[in-house]
């Protein structure tokens, strides 16, 4: 079920200084995580990124995901330490057409003599705040046993 990303998350993902990692799995369940700095949020609210290599493990894993309905995750971390994880599923692979050609030209202007295999569109389904302090407060509230006693000693 698709969710709408908050303005804060969108701004974080669209910031070029944010570190962005896409994790997929292969057919045997092996995780594969790579930096995808081209990850951004489109006007339709979906995430997209540019895959430059047709034969990359990410590309193959995403094909498997779109074919067999498997999820992927995107983890982003901003320079102020904000961090979110977005679970979603690939819903589209654009390999031709006006948007593809526009991105093809843009990426070549930016990186030189590279190719573009496709634009992957990922529909977000779940967002979680991965910032340590936010996660710590949540854990303390939900699991009062998950700590060492010396931290409570007088």
């Amino acid at each position: 079920m698709a969710v709408k990303l908050s303005d804060e998350v969108i701004a974080l993902i669209n910031n070029s200084e944010t570190v962005k990692v896409l994790a997929t799995v292969d057919q045997d369940g092996n995780p594969h995580a790579t930096f995808k700095q081209s990850l951004a949020v489109g006007e339709d609210g979906n995430l997209f990124f540019l895959e430059l290599l047709e034969s990359s493990q990410t590309n193959r894993n995403l094909v498997r995901s779109i074919w067999f309905n498997r999820k992927v995750t995107v983890t982003v971390r901003g320079k102020e330490g904000q961090s979110y994880q977005i679970k979603g599923k690939p819903v589209r692979n654009i390999i031709a057409g006006p948007l593809f050609e526009q991105k093809y030209v843009e990426v070549r202007e930016r990186l030189g003599d590279v190719d573009l295999a496709g634009i992957w569109v990922i529909e977000p389904e779940e967002v979680s705040d991965q910032n340590y302090w936010t996660r710590k407060a949540a854990e303390e509230a939900a699991h009062p046993y998950f700590l060492h006693l010396d931290r409570l000693a007088k």
Binding site: E54, V63, F68, R92, I95, A96, G97, E101, Y104, L116
Partner: protein, 418 residues
Amino acid sequence: MSMALKREDQIPLSYSEVVREHPDVPPLVILKIDVQRRGVHYTQNALNVIDPSVHQLRSPNIFGARDAQLTPVPDSLLLRDGSSIVVDPTPLERNPYLVDVVDGQLVLTDQGEVLETVDFWTKPDFYDKKTSSGALMNHVITARPQRINVFPSGFCHFWVNDKGCRFCDVVNHLKQQRAELGIPTRQNPQDVFEAVREALKQPGRFTTICLTAGSDTRGAEPFDQEVDYYIEILQAIGANFKVKKFPSQLVATAFTEKQLARLYEETGIRSYTTDLEVLNEELFEWVCPGKAEWVGYREWKNRLIRAVDIFGRGYVGTGIVGGVETAKPKGFTSEEAALRSTLEEAEHLISHGVNVVFSVWVPRPGSYFKDQKSPSLDYYVRLAKGLHQLRVKYGLPVDFDDYRRCGNHPDTDLARLL
């Protein structure tokens, strides 16, 4: 009993039943096969979406369509996974899928159920331009979403003594295109050069060039004239590139080593396909009498295998018209036997580095087999899976004929996972 029939009532499995039966095959690929098998009909709402300045409408082609028309309907479809469905418009009485508009989106439907969103192909920039001789460029070369098609000649000399392949409508279609659109029987190499030059000006639009034409038996050695003409056309195309070899596919007759060496050395061609059409010697003689007369089944196979020495492993292929092995009255009567025999023969070729790919058999109105019926969806899914598994077993790549560079072979769509 055929494997594609439900045990209890012998009714072929439906699309959703076949999807359940094959959880290891992507439903999108199964849908693509069924849409190719049954064809599509565009509703008026779908036709209203067409913008002739944006969408690619039915282009000249080497083969005809199931509706026997040249009317300007969308050329074909793109699925959301990036694969194409190269599909014919089909009369409603033949129970095709519908392309319709639901909630503002173009969709494929069947019996009122929305199955997938689809897109029309977009028209390349060169399409409405003219060459210096005045030829409309889309009458010289045509396009798929990522490939340039060149059909240098629409005539096949096997038809001269009525020995054209029985599923093929090439010459009848040529006559129709010549009469209604003025498409020439042979393309002028200079026109092809200019049209390809224009096509390459559109960044990101094309990844390969595919050439195919009818067979030409003439020459000092049979087919020498066909080879000479391809060399001329390929050299004209090659003049547009700064490298000698460029991603390309020649789909042609089974040539001798001498002819193939000339093609490889004198042009930029990178891959070679020569279609056996049906993987069974007796059926080949019946279905492809011209090929049988001029080359023969065993020699055709030998030439394929020898071509691997010239073009390299993974750069030679043969196409089969999937399902024609069940044509009546001489074809297999059981789908089980047809599949077993086809995959056995395919394994022999694949083990020698020759790719075997299939297209879904569409009995076309302009062919001998016009009144025949293609086999079940389940059959095609097993054929796709079987060919893919053989490629996996022998580690044979099929980059030159995959989902993007061709898009017409469900089995090579599966190679995206390799």
